[in-house]
């Protein structure tokens, strides 16, 4: 069974003068799923989105959005997708409702439809009370929500979000995630770029990790975590004085043990589920009381470190330049 792909990128390449911003990026996004394009600043995420949304012409390669080729039929691509850019690109001097009407009428939507859809969208994004205020008075989170609402005025089946939660406080971020989940539940296909590993973990069905313009890994969040190496076995003892004995016992069964007295925790490389059950059994027969024993999967942070040799945050300081252009 083959599922149709709402978004396909085929060997996208983009040069800016001598700089290679994107160097052969390919991926597919099945209909109704979420792809997280993960990478540090300057990795080529924004440039990839700009090519897929027909804002920038690729130097090489091509792509399709809802079956329309980005080079051969950019107009059809624009009719099929919505884009929310990195900065909230709402017009500050217009009210929320006027922003929706402007974009709606540029789409060529019927004025009565725009009024109805605006009411629904404002309601859905908790902006009903703010709809007639200028966007200048909105908070960061409200602007982002309005920006997203504006992208949805023509109900596009495909939505591109470039770092949708950058600069938002944690609460607004979680609220926006909920809205995005709803959209996907309704059948929208989503491509979102992010430098937050947690965000990709929370929202994405599939993740494509890009660094320096190329895809360095892809898979489900779980696959990526598995790929980055073994999970860790974590044992937490109840009484601090047991920590020493527990460490001795554990050393007989594993290669190395890391002790964290503050957390009363012992960490060791895990060798699978049966191995863990066996160790749990040994502790059960001993006098040592445990608070917890379990396998801890690596976080996407660990994945990123494993794949690129640097942490996602470290890369922020690096080449921030071309992502902005």
């Amino acid at each position: 069974m083959t599922r149709s792909h709402a978004i396909e990128a085929e060997g996208l390449v983009k040069h800016f003068g001598d700089t290679v911003a994107v160097d052969g990026v390919s991926f597919v996004v099945p209909e109704g799923t979420v792809l997280g394009l993960l990478g540090p600043n300057g990795a080529g995420k924004t440039t990839t989105v700009r090519m897929m949304t027909t804002l920038t012409r690729p130097t090489g390669g091509t792509g399709r959005v809802a079956g329309h080729d980005i080079l051969a039929d950019p107009a059809a691509v624009r009719r099929s997708m919505g884009l929310t850019g990195q900065a909230a690109t709402v017009d500050e001097l217009l009210t929320g409702r006027e922003n929706l009407r402007l974009i709606g009428s540029l789409y060529g939507l019927d004025p009565a439809y725009i009024r109805r859809a605006s009411d629904e969208l404002l309601e859905r994004f908790s902006l009903a009370d703010a709809g007639d205020r200028t966007a200048k008075t909105y908070s960061g989170g409200m602007r982002r929500r309005l920006d997203l609402a504006v992208s949805l005025i023509a109900t596009p089946p495909v939505l591109f979000l470039d770092e949708p939660t950058t600069g938002l406080d944690p609460r607004s971020r979680v609220e926006l995630w909920d809205v995005l989940r709803e959209l996907v539940a309704d059948g929208t296909t989503l491509l979102l770029t992010t430098q937050y590993l947690e965000e990709a973990d929370q929202l994405a069905d599939n993740i494509v990790v890009i660094d320096r313009g190329t895809v360095i890994a892809e898979g489900t969040p779980l696959q990526l975590k598995d790929q980055s190496g073994a999970a860790a076995l974590v044992v937490t003892v109840s009484r601090p004085e047991d920590l020493g004995i527990a460490e001795q016992m554990l050393r007989d069964h594993v290669a190395e043990v890391h002790t964290d007295p503050g957390a009363r925790q012992l960490t060791a490389p895990a060798e699978g589920l049966t191995h863990m059950t066996r160790i749990a059994g040994i502790f059960a027969e001993s006098q040592i009381e445990l608070d917890d024993i379990g396998l801890k999967r690596p976080s996407l942070d660990d994945v990123f470190l494993h794949l690129t040799g640097h942490r996602a945050e470290d890369a922020l300081a690096d080449d921030q330049t071309e992502e902005a252009s």
């Binding site: 009719r79 001097l93 217009l94 540029l106 060529g108 019927d110 200028t134 504006v150 109900t155 059948g187």
Partner: protein, 284 residues
């Protein structure tokens, strides 16, 4: 214009509204309407075509008016008005450049370009609102002029042609604005460039004083300055002109022809540059 070529995507299970293919004009009006809302929300945006020129008219008329004797009906004040109007329409490039740079900076242009519209609508819409903006200025200045002794002493046809040349000039200057606006990275840079160029250009002319008493070399420069042809043309068409110097340069002898010529030349030279700069700014 509303043909049903834009169809909804059959592949999706989401029910979508009808997307009608609209024309460039409809799209440009939608964008111009947004710019008018800006003016409504921030009326101080109109200062450059209202308070500022009116202040110039009053300052120049009352400060220099008594020391510059102009042998026409209404004296220096009547002479001055066409000059201030020419300066104001030349400054319309300023309005376009500032607005465009702000939209580019904030990503508004990108948002528009991601929509199924003609990319030119962004520029055409901005031009519409800019010409309307300048026209408001012309009305305000005419009314101010009437109160201080300026008037049109010719016929309706000539009067209209004078206004038409001013608006035509504003159109040509839109391209200058698009060019500068696309090339500059910030509104502050636009302000700097425009002040540094537009002020000398609009002053080094016959706008505020006759060129007769200038040193020879300066007089030649001033009389070949395109703004001088425009100012002279409007003065002649409205009957506010004074007799020309015996060896006045060609543009002042045939000001209407030269003004139309300048409008065509400026547009022909700057428009391709402006479009190229705008494209390379937005497409990469």
């Amino acid at each position: 214009m509303n043909d049903q070529t834009g169809t909804t995507t059959r592949r999706s299970q989401i029910s979508r509204p009808d997307i009608r293919q609209t024309g460039l004009l409809t799209q440009s009006f939608a964008i111009a309407r947004r710019n008018f809302i800006h003016i409504k929300r921030m009326p101080e945006m109109l200062m450059d075509v209202t308070i500022q020129p009116v202040m110039f008219v009053l300052l120049f008329a009352f400060v220099f008016g008594s020391s510059i004797a102009i042998p026409i009906d209404g004296g220096y004040k009547a002479f001055l008005l066409a000059g201030i109007m020419a300066q104001t329409v030349a400054f319309s490039s300023f309005i376009v450049a500032v607005g465009l740079t702000a939209d580019l900076e904030k990503g508004i242009v990108d948002r528009m370009r991601s929509l199924p519209i003609n990319p030119a609508a962004v520029l055409v819409g901005r031009s519409f609102s800019s010409v309307a903006h300048s026209s408001i200025g012309l009305v305000v200045m005419s009314l101010t002029g009437l109160t201080i002794g300026w008037g049109i002493h010719t016929d309706v046809f000539r009067a209209a042609l004078g206004y038409l040349l001013l608006v035509g000039w504003a159109f040509a200057m839109i391209w200058v604005g698009i060019w500068v606006g696309s090339a500059m990275r910030s509104v502050e840079a636009v302000n700097g460039v425009m002040f540094a160029t537009m002020f000398p250009i609009t002053f080094l002319a016959n706008t505020f004083a006759p060129t007769d008493s200038m040193p020879d070399w300066l007089r030649t420069v001033a009389e070949w300055n395109p703004i001088s042809a425009l100012t002279q043309a409007v003065r002649e068409l409205w009957g506010n002109d004074m007799p020309l110097h015996a060896d006045a340069e060609l543009p002042l002898r045939y000001p209407v022809v030269f003004t139309i010529g300048w409008i065509i030349v400026i547009t022909a030279v700057v428009a391709p540059l402006a479009i190229r700069t705008f494209r390379s700014r937005t497409a990469d």
